[in-house]
Amino acid sequence: MSDKTQSDHAQGDGHAHGELDMGHTHVSSSAMFMTVLIALLFLTFITVAVAQFDFGSANMLIAMGIASVKASLVIAFFMHLKWDTAVNKLMFLSSFLFLSLLFIFTLADQFTRRLDHELHTTPSEPVDGAWVQPAKSDGPH
């Protein structure tokens, strides 16, 4: 926590001075912001460049990897989470944890159905045949 931050608030807020060290405010240098911006643009260039070649199934991993790096740059520096309070970090990052739960279980079901068919040898080709027309109207019956 830089002294500058302290002084920033000392004027506004005397009696709660002790709590100021909870890092709720951090003034980063313009130079740092500029560096992050350049890094982000560079990574954008990389991800586009890489996409010109086909690495098969690795494509997704590579692209998501680069995107995650970019995302963490934005979160850590632009969004100041690096200097934010522990609870804010916890709250925000936990959303990714629960997101991963949604992904893992939903996709696990989808991805394991193929194995499932091997297990039960249930054909999985779609049913042909007529359908009931969906009702477009949202009005009275």
Binding site: P123, E125, V127, G129, V132
Partner: protein, 357 residues
């Protein structure tokens, strides 16, 4: 087969229930489940085991609770508690670990059972039926390709697999006496298997909510012996040369099974989701005249006269000519491509017979 023939036509529609003539299944000794008519005994086993465990825990909990409510009740308004104990580690460990062990047993038992129920054995694969669910009836295709509607005959002691397909929304294939249930997901096949072990007729319910007539989407499961199977009772359709009364009776029966959930198939029977059959044909000095209809075909509206060809087409390709008349306009009937000529002929005869009254 459903015996609508005996129902006098003036009966209100609801009196003709799909489950007419199906006996209530016997209930087992413990009074909770229908008597097992299939091979999945482990369901009953685990059910009653869990049930017993639950009762034991329930008695303990409520026993202690009610005892202390009486024994330790507050007699003076400022009475202090007998003890101020706030925790007891051994006790807490015990009542964490013991339930954990019990539920793990239940899990293993249950998962093993479910594998058994979802893994179809060879014998059942050789005896595969197809059950097609649509709002709100069942079509069963037998291994030999013949079809039956809203009831199915299976042979005792012979494992059977049902390939389940839905042509509209979610349904579920549920035979309580066999302990089998499986949702039918449109767009892909599901399958269930079981081995009928007890002669008789059983309920087949649709257990996944599927719209207006969900509660009447019902079929009978007849478990019969080999001799009866060979007669193919589901496939007896009066031929063209059969006496017309018999054909009309069969047509009415079939209409009750397949059509009444949307059409008025007689002045007193059927829903009004689709055009009524009443007045489809009228008698003009002894000759049958078909009703004039406004229909939309490929965008443009035209007028046609109801005749056998039009009816057959509307049954097999309902989307070809859509009735323009409100409120039926824009409502589409699910098709019955698979309905064979003999059955359609009987239906048409029945429709024509409506002109008499």
């Amino acid at each position: 087969m459903i015996n609508l023939i005996q129902d006098p036509p003036q009966d209100p529609p609801k009196d003709a229930t799909p489950w007419d003539g199906v006996p209530a299944p016997d209930i087992d000794a413990w009074g909770q489940l229908p008597v097992q008519a299939g091979n999945f005994d482990h369901v009953d086993g685990l059910f009653y085991f869990t049930y017993a465990v639950c009762i034991v825990f329930f008695v303990i909990i409520t026993g202690v609770l009610l005892y202390s409510c009486v024994a330790h009740r507050r007699k003076t308004w400022d009475q202090k508690p007998l003890s101020n104990v706030t925790h007891n580690t051994p006790l807490e460990v015990v009542w964490t670990v013991i339930p954990l062990i019990i539920v793990m047993i239940m899990f293993a038992w249950g998962f093993k059972g479910s594998l058994d129920m979802t893994t179809v054995p060879q014998a059942a694969k050789q005896n595969t039926y197809k059950a097609t669910a649509k709002q709100w009836n069942w079509t069963f295709t037998y291994p030999n390709g013949t079809r039956g509607y809203n009831e199915v005959y299976i042979e005792i002691g012979k494992p059977v697999q049902f390939m389940l397909e839905s042509t509209d929304v979610l349904h579920a294939f549920y035979v309580p006496s066999m302990r089998v249930k499986r949702d039918i997901v449109p767009g892909r096949y599901q399958s269930v298997w079981f081995e009928p072990t007890k002669l008789g007729t059983y309920h087949l319910f649709c257990a996944e909510y599927c719209g207006d007539d969900h509660s009447r989407m019902y079929a009978k499961v007849h478990v019969v012996d080999e001799a009866t199977m060979e007669k193919e009772p589901w496939n007896i359709v009066p031929e063209a040369d059969a006496p017309v009364a018999e054909r009309i009776a069969y047509g009415k029966e079939l209409a009750g099974q397949l059509c009444a959930s949307c059409h008025k198939i007689s002045p007193t029977q059927g829903m009004d989701n689709g055009p009524s059959w009443v007045g489809m044909f009228t008698k003009v000095d002894g000759k049958l005249v078909g009703r004039q209809r406004e229909v939309i075909e490929g965008g443009e509206t035209k007028t046609i006269t109801t005749d056998d060809a039009y009816i057959t087409e509307s049954i097999r390709k309902p989307t070809q000519k859509i009735v323009a008349e409100e409120p039926y306009r824009g409502r589409n009937m699910s098709n019955f491509e698979t309905l064979d000529d003999a059955r359609i002929a009987c239906l048409i005869d029945y429709m024509k017979s409506l002109a008499d009254n």
